[in-house]
């Protein structure tokens, strides 16, 4: 029996290898080679998403929006590829390299997980141009790398102030998707903003998962449970920085007849119709603008490189007013915004 198994295993691999050989003859020209590339000076944009890809209702989608805009307004050719859960560093490098090999001149990597691979790919392909979202470390630094980062803490400060101003109970909540430094930055700004309004406010904080479990960004059931707990313990406003899990936070807010704050995009516009009215504002992080800037600039012959921080001042982060739920406190929020822009308030980046 064991003999059988041994031979079987050998053969299964051999069978696959044979199949591979048999097919490769016809593949040689189909390997993604592009004959039109380089004919004229047009740019082709390859986009490497983080886990979740397009449709995650979070920053991947926001990046996709920037890509879509570039495609329709600038007419650039685009290609998208997403990371899969549990892949290693080599897989990320390979994805970027394959995009370069397939003739894409400008590669956008979404998410800090790509930091090292962008650094390496940029070095290996000095003629290609890269952009990375959410990383400004030395790992990804290079003369052909545009590091797009955001002052999430500043935007979160404003919605924290909004939460405190709107809360009647003096009790608010924060739901973070995954306990990472990036999401901690949201928390830090939110807490600082709320405390600026009401020093004694009670703030409940919960993270849905711990890395390397990144399901906290895509699990509405977990978001719902966490938010329900907060509303039951007296909170009346909950801010989420939990990507797709945020849908659950809105559902919980609806059931508790309370308020919620969205993240990344203006969720009062994008959320399902039945929960839209609980979203008083959203902390907007304009990943799309960062991506679009990179592509647009490139089509104009100016390649971006180095770290660009999209903050309140540059409009890279902001708060939304859709639905008119915070019109009464808008003056106060704009005052905070001005103080941050003027440097009178420095928002912490860690809690």
């Amino acid at each position: 029996m064991r003999h059988t198994i041994k031979v079987a295993a050998v053969m299964s691999a051999a069978a696959l290898a044979l199949a591979a050989c048999g097919d490769s003859g016809g593949t040689s020209s189909g390997g993604g080679s592009t004959s039109s590339a380089g004919a004229k000076k047009t740019i082709k944009v390859g986009m490497a998403y983080d886990v979740g890809g397009r449709g995650d209702q979070s920053f991947n989608d926001s990046a996709a929006a920037g890509l879509d805009k570039a495609k329709s307004e600038l007419g650039v050719e685009v290609k998208e590829a997403a990371a899969v859960n549990g892949e290693n560093e080599a897989a990320r490098e390979e994805r970027l390299q394959q995009l370069v090999d397939a003739g894409y001149t400008h590669i956008v990597a979404v998410g800090f997980a790509y930091a090292k691979s962008v650094g390496k790919a940029a070095k290996d392909n000095p003629d290609a141009h890269f952009a990375i979202v959410d990383d400004a470390s030395a790992d990804s630094k290079g003369p052909n790398v545009d590091q797009i980062t955001f002052a999430e803490n500043e935007g979160s400060f404003i919605v924290g102030a909004a939460a405190a101003l709107k809360s009647k109970a003096g009790n608010i909540g924060f739901v973070g998707g995954v306990n990472t430094p990036l999401i901690k930055k949201f928390e830090a700004g939110y807490v600082a903003g709320a405390k600026a309004v009401n020093k004694d406010i009670k703030i409940q904080i919960k993270y849905l998962t711990q890395p390397p479990d990144f399901s906290g960004f895509a699990d509405p059931a977990k978001g719902k449970t966490a938010a329900e707990g907060m509303y039951q313990s007296g909170a009346d406003v909950v801010y989420h920085a939990a990507g797709g899990s945020g849908g659950g936070v809105f559902t919980a807010a609806k059931a508790a007849n309370a308020m919620a704050i969205g993240v990344d995009s203006d969720q009062a516009l994008t959320a399902p119709a039945d929960v839209k009215d609980v979203i008083i504002t959203s902390m907007i992080k304009k990943v799309d603008v960062g991506v679009f800037d990179f592509i647009k600039s490139a089509t104009e012959g100016k390649e971006l490189s180095g770290n660009k921080v999209y903050d309140l001042k540059s409009g890279g982060v902001d708060y939304s007013t859709t639905g008119g739920k915070i019109d009464d406190i808008k003056a106060k929020l704009d005052d905070y915004k001005k103080q941050i822009i003027d440097g009178k308030i420095t928002v912490p980046t860690t809690p």
Partner: protein, 372 residues
């Protein structure tokens, strides 16, 4: 090994060929059903990998191999160590933490880190082993729970010890010193990357696994316990001790899983360290039928599919998760095919024996029995 039997070999070939064929057909049907380009997908998946991709396949296979061997040690005595996933992460963290301190120079640091990782993995597995021996807790349940605990524990500790680089959103342990990083071998011509040095570790572990389980008294006891616990007890095997030893050995081997990654690629344990290797190991151990050589081929097949899936979106416009479907179908098909072949083999053997007996003089009583 008995005499050369063409039928047996033919049947052995039939199982995997059947399984791969089934996987091919089912995947094609799925692609066709959802309207994806079937031909493009197979072109991408079965296209010859480039040199650097071959390196990636070998590297990735070495890691998967270690994981599968760790699982297989348990499987051989009917212990389902689902906890390899947690064990390797605890161990990789402990190893990275230790290596990062650079208490020892270059290669010594590497060697001792391997020991630290094995001890960490073994200790973590010993919790499940102790629970099983002393409290009768199923190792399936306890190791799954311990995986979740490992995730929380490692993350908590990581937050305590990690240093965050300026401008980075990733966290990790201290980078291991340059002198302890392993450059790897330039095995594949024209490849821009190198094969992990610790591929050697995978080979060494494979040989040790084959030798200890196949050629030693301990290995015999272990396999005997797996086949029939009561028979093992009757022949004087101390089963609780075997459970303890096998589980801890499985955990210690799991401790090595992250080492090629640590010394050959990541140089630290952090948020982007590869996850889910333990679960991949379970599938690969099944596919390789717990055999040192079989697992090697299964790991290569797995790594090949993973590697080729990367280009799916770029070249064929299909989500790379398709490869998960293919891998799942292969596993199912292989398990079923092996069983079908086993039965066919048994039937043919019985027929043969019956024929031979019938050919002999009717006066001879059939006392020998079939040697299937």
């Amino acid at each position: 090994m008995r005499t050369f039997q063409p039928r047996r070999i033919l049947l052995s070939v039939a199982a995997p060929v059947l399984a791969l064929l089934v996987a091919f057909v089912i995947t094609s049907l799925i692609l066709w059903a959802v309207g994806d380009p079937v031909a493009e997908v197979w072109k991408t998946l079965l296209g010859a990998p480039r040199p650097r991709q071959v390196v990636n396949i070998v590297n990735s296979a070495s890691v998967l191999y270690l994981s599968a061997i760790a699982v297989a040690v348990g499987f051989r005595m009917n212990l389902f160590n689902i906890g390899v996933d947690g064990q390797y992460r605890v161990a990789a963290f402990a190893g990275a933490l230790f290596a990062g301190q650079a208490w020892l120079p270059g290669p010594l640091n590497v060697l001792l880190t391997l020991v630290v990782a094995m001890v960490a993995g073994g200790l973590w597995a010993s919790i499940a082993a102790w629970l099983k021996v002393r409290r009768g807790v199923s190792e399936v349940i306890s190791t799954i729970m311990l995986n979740a605990i490992a995730t929380g524990l490692v993350q908590w500790l990581l937050l305590k010890v990690s240093s965050q680089e300026k401008g980075s959103n990733a966290i990790g342990t201290k980078l291991i010193p340059e002198s302890s990083r392993l450059d790897g071998f330039a095995l594949i011509p024209n490849a821009s990357n190198r094969v992990y040095t610790l591929v050697l570790l995978a080979i060494l572990v494979g040989v040790a696994y084959w030798f200890v389980l196949g050629k030693t008294r301990f290995g015999f006891d272990l396999r005997a316990t797996g086949r029939s616990e009561s028979a093992a007890v009757a022949s004087g095997v101390k089963v609780p001790r075997m459970v303890m030893t096998a589980m801890i050995a499985s955990g210690a081997l799991a401790g090595l899983v992250g080492m090629p990654l640590l010394f050959g690629q990541d140089y630290q344990y952090g948020t982007t360290f590869q996850a889910g290797l333990g679960f991949a190991g379970i599938g690969i151990a099944l596919l390789g039928r717990n055999n040192a050589i079989g697992i090697a081929f299964a790991s290569l097949l797995w790594a090949y599919l993973d590697q080729q899936s990367n280009g799916l979106q770029i070249r064929a416009g299909v989500a790379p998760e398709l490869v998960n479907i293919i891998q799942g179908v292969i596993l199912f098909a292989v398990v079923i095919a092996y069983e079908l072949i086993r039965r066919a083999d048994l039937r043919l053997e019985q027929n043969r024996v019956a024929r031979e007996l019938a050919a002999q003089s009717p006066s001879t009583p059939a006392t020998q029995g079939a040697s299937a």
